[in-house]
């Protein structure tokens, strides 16, 4: 059974600081996704990582994938308050035929 674990689950940080969210998964996967969810809202796609060593950056967020370690990271650079949200990683497991398995999410709070 494919399992996805994120840590930390809660993260409080100050503006201007850097931090990394980790996403581990238990079996081989072809793709890894990062989503953002604001309170009471749906999920917004941030990144889709399709291969080992993939790195994608958008603004202050950078995501990477190491399929050998079954690990993805979401790095936050010089955090700002607008980044406060819950971040989910999800894995499209081999043979899963498309349904995503989600981590429990990391609730990020950026304080001024």
């Amino acid at each position: 059974e494919l399992k996805v674990e994120q840590n930390p689950l809660f993260l409080s940080m100050q503006e201007g600081k850097n931090y990394t969210i980790y996403c581990n998964y238990s079996t081989t996967s072809d793709r890894l996704y990062w989503y953002r969810q604001d309170p009471g809202k749906s999920l917004e796609s941030l990144f889709v990582l399709l291969s080992n060593g993939a790195v994608k950056q958008e603004g202050r967020l950078m995501a990477s994938l190491d399929t050998k370690a079954r690990l993805s990271t979401l790095h936050i650079t010089a955090a700002v308050h607008d980044l406060s949200a819950t971040y989910f990683c999800a894995v499209d497991g081999r043979g899963s035929q498309g349904n995503l398995i989600f981590g429990k999410g990391t609730k990020l709070s950026v304080k001024p």
């Binding site: 749906s42 399709l50 429990k104």
Partner: protein, 114 residues
């Protein structure tokens, strides 16, 4: 349409009643997924449809849950004899095909069972 549309956005129902939740996927998306998100939790996969193939129902939590899809368009998720533990946000997503890399989520239906 331009995005995935779900209705109603909010539903309050009495315990024991049946509810139907609706999802309109993006036009041309052959794959459609239902997920459940309990308060403060991640998303649990419920069911997905791919074209005219038999749906993958492996995530449905009990036989009170069922879903249908008409061709490659609208889907309804039905919960019979609702229980308080069914209270959650039910999210629908669609993609061009199963396993394609672009999933678009709807805004969800917040179900409250009282």
């Amino acid at each position: 349409g331009a995005g995935v549309s779900q209705s109603p956005s909010n539903k309050v129902t009495e315990k024991g009643k049946d509810v139907e939740l609706r999802c309109d996927p993006i036009s041309g998306h052959t794959a459609l997924y239902w997920y459940r998100q309990r308060l403060g939790q991640g998303l649990e996969f419920l069911i997905y449809f791919q074209g005219n193939s038999a749906p993958d129902k492996s995530g449905l939590p009990s036989d009170r849950f069922s879903a249908e899809r008409t061709g490659e368009s609208v889907s309804t998720l039905t919960i019979q004899r609702t229980q308080q533990e069914d209270s959650a946000v039910y999210l629908c997503a669609s993609s061009l095909s199963a396993g394609s890399s672009g999933y678009t989520f709807g805004s969800g239906t917040r179900l409250t069972v009282v």
